[in-house]
Amino acid sequence: MTDTTSESANSRTTSRRSLLAMGGAGLVVGAAAAGGAVAVTRSGDEPQPVADTGGAVAFHGAHQAGIATGVQDRLHFAAFDVKTDDRDEFVQLLKDWTKAAARMTEGRVIGDGAYGGLPEAPPDDTGEALGLKPSRLTLTIGFGPSLFEKFGLADKRPEALVDLPKFPGDNLDKARSDGDLCIQACADDPQIAVHAIRNLARIGFGKVAVRWSQLGFGKTSSTTPDAQTPRNLFGFKDGTRNIAGTEREALDQHVWAGAGDGPAWMTGGSYLVARRIRMNIETWDRTSLSEQEDVFGRDKGEGAPVGKAKEHDAVFLKALKPTSHVRLAHPDSNGGIRILRRGYSFTDGTDGLGRLDAGLFFLAYQRDVRKGFIPLQRSLSRHDALNEYIQHVGSAVFAVPPGVRDSGDWWGRALFSKEA
């Protein structure tokens, strides 16, 4: 909380307002302690092992947080369209966003806070995160292909940021696809993630408009192999072989854009593919256990690959059916391709026919979309037995710039600076 609000807590007699303010002041201590602990043990550049779920994740670093960071429990993901054609105005928004994002990830209010300001003006911060912990909030920005058609950025577009081809079975809704920008908000508390997107959207009004957004309620992948592998809505462990936040070499090889990969402004960044994958929950639930296990290629209880006893036992591909999901998605079936998955289960209520409008909001980070998601999905979309139970209904791809180095740096600085 700001100094102003702490002051007002002292100067007022006990009231609901000042009680709140004191709660807020208490939070400063908590946030500082949590932030401090993080700062002592690791910088933002380092992979974050399973953390105290209330703590703060460092915002600054060589890479943006929210990629190799241990996957938090909740997601609010938003795609934006740019509404201004004024480059300076857009750059100012990126700076304002960066500042607000840094504060929110520390568990602090934005601007002059949620109360105590001018009574005639709406408060800067919307307030629903007051009294909550930072909850490992990470905010990660990405730039979509269409952004490069604006502001004279055409020659800055990385070759790796390709428009995704149409895959067999795609039934994409334009209103849930694409976007000039995206912000991924992950936190262990859903209110923290929603607060972050809501406030960034508010700061953006007039400059950008939310195109679509997606809430995710349960992580389906983990970047922390020591922790229990989460299950997707089909009830199966997912992402057993995901790239871990501690696998520095694998991250450099498969996730981070390296020097010389493309434009210099992307070095240390990554490429994000987001897919809204609707699951036919009811028909899946009527499928026999043996077929379910055949479809995945793992057993439902332990998550062990066919013919093996333990989840983390090496997969013997030939033991799996040729159309099984795990076999088709396995690096050995794809020339060693690995992507870092960070998806979330979603349920947006029901669809009017009484069926759950639910599925997987798939998020995958990779060094090059052409060598990552595209070949993988080409194979999966043609052969995966799982296709009978899923449909891809939304799609987007983004170039995720490298991290914000310090408090003087801002999201996209290297892209928008003249010499880049």
Partner: protein, 385 residues
């Protein structure tokens, strides 16, 4: 329009800002124990005040709830309009309520259980120091009052064209006269809503009726006739009767609207509320669900907001030049976008909203958000420093 219950809240909130004028920013004036601080002790059956007479200007009520029920405390004009209020004061808690009051009689009401008329205390505000004034803002208020009166005056004959057509049973003429009859109302709606009782009579939608109200007998006003004209496509004796009611209720509005409390803050908040109306009722197509003339109302709302802004601009531009620049830009952008939906500027014949597709509605919604966000900061930019 708003749902009835919401209208009452809005009226209260508007009245509160009207009277509060600039007071709340002058917290430092109210030094503890000074002339301007009144102790209010609320219990389940009492509302004790430390003094019943105090000087005009900034007052602070230091409230303590010693009762067992959650209470609320109001400062009321003699006619029960709200000067300022504080709700949800829990048992054993203290709250503050500030207001800017002119000389005159008032009542302080404690409402244990937050219902009923409450326990009242009559108080008198004497001469005291007056509220700081800015001549430019006084002019803005005066000009806005003239605008509001003019809109009401111009509306009556347009409404009569509409109601005459209904009385004649001329469906086509009535449909044609419907939307034009509403423009003056839509431009100045927050002022009309500040009375609380007129809006539910003339501009309520069927879903705005309260539980227990029967649409057959209790639903009156424009939207009741809209439904008859576009959905039922029938004009019967009830519709003709309601046409007369509408004339009468609008006449009542026209006669009273000049007496509304208007302040720079209420003008600015009113402008923001007009955009709220657009965002919640028009962009969604809910307001004119039968006639689909939403864009006419939309335009009226924006024009009314722009008028209030233009009048406040000399002060707003001085206090917050960046805000004024942004508002100029976003008003222009929204006006330009709306022009896409009418043949020529000056015409109020807009594209029927059922012909406006999803993507175009999204574009309109984005433009409304782009304007409404900076507009929400206008009130703070016209506070007298």
């Amino acid at each position: 329009m708003r749902a009835v219950r919401l209208t009452v809240v809005t009226a209260a909130a508007t009245a509160a800002t009207l009277a509060a004028v600039t007071g709340c920013t002058q917290k430092s004036d109210a030094k503890a124990g000074g002339d301007h601080v009144i102790q209010v002790t609320a219990t389940d059956d009492k509302c004790e005040v430390s003094k019943t007479e105090f000087p005009a200007g900034h007052v602070e009520l230091s409230i303590e709830n010693k009762g067992s029920k959650v209470t609320e405390v109001y400062v009321l004009f003699p006619d029960d309009r709200i000067v300022s209020e504080r709700e949800n004061i829990g048992p054993g808690t203290k709250q503050k309520l500030t207001a800017e009051v002119k000389a005159g009689s008032y009542e302080i009401a404690c409402k244990p259980g937050m219902k009923g008329a409450g326990v009242r205390q009559k108080v008198t505000v004497t001469g005291g120091k007056s509220v700081k004034r800015d001549a430019r803002l006084d002019k803005a208020v005066a000009d806005y009052r003239t605008y509001v009166e003019q809109q009401a005056e111009d509306t009556l004959p347009k409404a009569k064209t509409f109601t005459d057509a209904v009385r004649k049973g001329d469906l086509k003429a009535a449909q044609a006269a419907y939307a034009p009859s509403r423009i003056g109302w839509e431009r100045t709606e927050p002022v009309a809503e500040s009375f609380g009782d007129i809006d539910p009579k003339v501009d309520v939608r069927e879903d705005g009726l309260e539980a227990g109200q029967d649409p057959k007998t209790d639903w009156t006003g424009w939207h009741r006739l809209e439904k008859a004209l576009w959905q039922d496509k029938k004009i019967g004796s009830r519709e003709k009767e309601l046409a007369g009611r509408l004339d009468k209720d609008l006449k009542d509005w026209q006669e009273r609207v000049g007496k509304a409390e208007i302040t720079p803050t209420s003008m600015a908040n009113g402008a923001k509320e007009l955009l709220d109306e657009v965002a919640t009722g028009k962009v969604t197509g809910e307001e004119e669900r039968y006639s689909h003339t939403d864009l006419v109302d939309f335009k009226g709302n924006v024009e009314g907001a722009e008028k209030a802004y233009d009048l406040l601009k000399p002060v707003a531009a001085e206090n917050d030049p960046a805000l004024a620049k942004e508002l100029d830009k976003q008003f222009a952008a929204l006006d330009k976008l709306l022009d896409k939906y009418r043949g020529d500027k000056g015409s109020y014949e807009f594209t029927s909203y059922d012909k406006v597709g999803k993507a175009d509605r999204k574009e309109l919604s984005d433009a409304v958000n782009a304007l409404a966000e900076p507009l929400s900061h206008l009130a703070a930019a016209v506070v007298v420093k």
